[in-house]
Amino acid sequence: MRSFTVEWLFSPLRSAELNGWEAWLNDWIYVITVIFLVVELVRYVAVKRLNWTLVGDTLTNFVTFGAFILVSYVTLFALYLAAYTYFSQFAIWTIDVNWATVLLCVVAADLCYYWEHRFTHRVGIAWASHTVHHSSPNMNVSVAYRFGPLDGLWPIPFHIPLVLVGFNPFVVFFAEAFVQLYQTVLHTEVIKKLPRPIEWLMNTPSHHRVHHGANREYIDKNYSGIFIIWDRIFGTFAEEKAAVQFGITKPLNSVNPLVVFFHGLYRLGEEFAKANGWRAKWQVLVGPPGQTEVRSSVPVNSRTAGESL
């Protein structure tokens, strides 16, 4: 049995085969999503929370996902592979493609994702897009499909290092997609807490609810994708204690997909116009979000400012 496992782990793997697995996984996540969504809607009915705003919000999540797909799949897919393949010529090590190395690549990609995610929360221009994902006041699996216009762009620079150390560009692409797919099922209120060792090691629905919280103590916490340990190591972890208030500190109060999809860029534009002088404008783009609001003394409506990134 053991030798079979080892045999399988180290048997050569074709990148085309891996892409097939990714497509397979993607399809099944869709199926699971629909099942989850039905469960969640039934639960909303049971606890008497189902209303038209919620239904509208759920639909909006899928519409933003559709718009996101339109933007990214058409233009970015080619860009990903082009960028990764281009940089692979500078790779410092040669890494074979087999499940063992794919597994290591997933762990490394998870760490890259941690930084990408932290970046999208702490840099104005990136937050302008990622805020879309966070702007839902609810937490169900459809929120996982709520994306902003630029969300497909940030993974590229953050994952190029993986190609540079020698991982196959297609494997990096797979690993990155896997880290994303894993998180889909974390968007739920149905699962409370999992056994302690799992909660210690893995990102779980509980940890991810915290990440979606607008509560002061939950803001900019739990960035991790698959393994929550990155947050524990880098001091951005928070345990789910108080009930989570989902959404952003300056609520949208809209289920209009267009408003939802572009509100981040719109708000960034507003702040950019308001900012005094080029230094301040630059700060709006690259600094942590919500600073001008803090300065104009509306702290309740802002995200925490302070230390950068």
Partner: protein, 176 residues
């Protein structure tokens, strides 16, 4: 354990972790491809040469799909012919039926081909038996394989595809 909260140190720690994982991965090499001695030989591939000083060329073709049509294989020692897919100007040419026996892996032995080369190998799976490699728009509708190709869409030049002899593994790709 106290978390690392300094941004710069956090980033350095991350780069070290990633380098560690990648170095580890670089040590985990795949098992050698299946033992060629156990592979079936392609029927109909003849080694018609008459070179005296030989060490031979052995092509292992992986991933032939299904059992329709035939697989066409050619070995080139000419850059122009290779890059023009001019199979008539190949130094070795062979066709064999795609069937269950060759599905996983098949061996094309050319023991009388003089070692040294350079040789570039090109194959395609002529599923509809029309002696042509078919496309639909830009996408090939039949399988193909080239020595030295890193992945499906890699089109190696003659230099990149060249081998000097011995055992060469060629992976077949199908776009649909």
């Amino acid at each position: 354990m106290k978390p690392v909260s300094h941004l710069g140190i956090s980033l350095i720690v991350s780069l070290l972790i990633i380098s560690g994982l990648a170095y580890g991965a670089s040590q985990l090499s795949s098992h050698a491809e299946s033992d060629s001695a156990n592979l079936p030989d392609a029927v109909g591939v003849s080694d018609h040469g008459g070179d005296t000083e030989v060490q031979g060329l052995e092509i292992i073709v992986l991933g032939i799909r299904g059992d329709q049509g035939k697989v066409v294989a050619a070995v080139f020692n000419d850059k122009e012919a290779f890059e023009a897919y001019d199979y008539d100007r190949s130094i070795r040419y062979g066709e064999f039926k795609a069937n269950k026996a060759v599905k996983g892996a098949v061996r094309l032995p050319f023991p009388r081909l003089r070692s040294g080369g350079p040789y570039a190998i090109s194959l395609f799976h002529d599923e509809n038996n029309d002696d042509d490699f078919n496309y639909e728009g830009d996408y090939p509708t039949e399988g193909w394989g080239t020595s030295g190709a890193k992945d499906m869409w890699d089109e190696p030049t003659f230099e990149e595809a060249s081998v000097t002899g011995g055992r060469v593994i060629v992976q077949m790709y199908y776009a649909d």
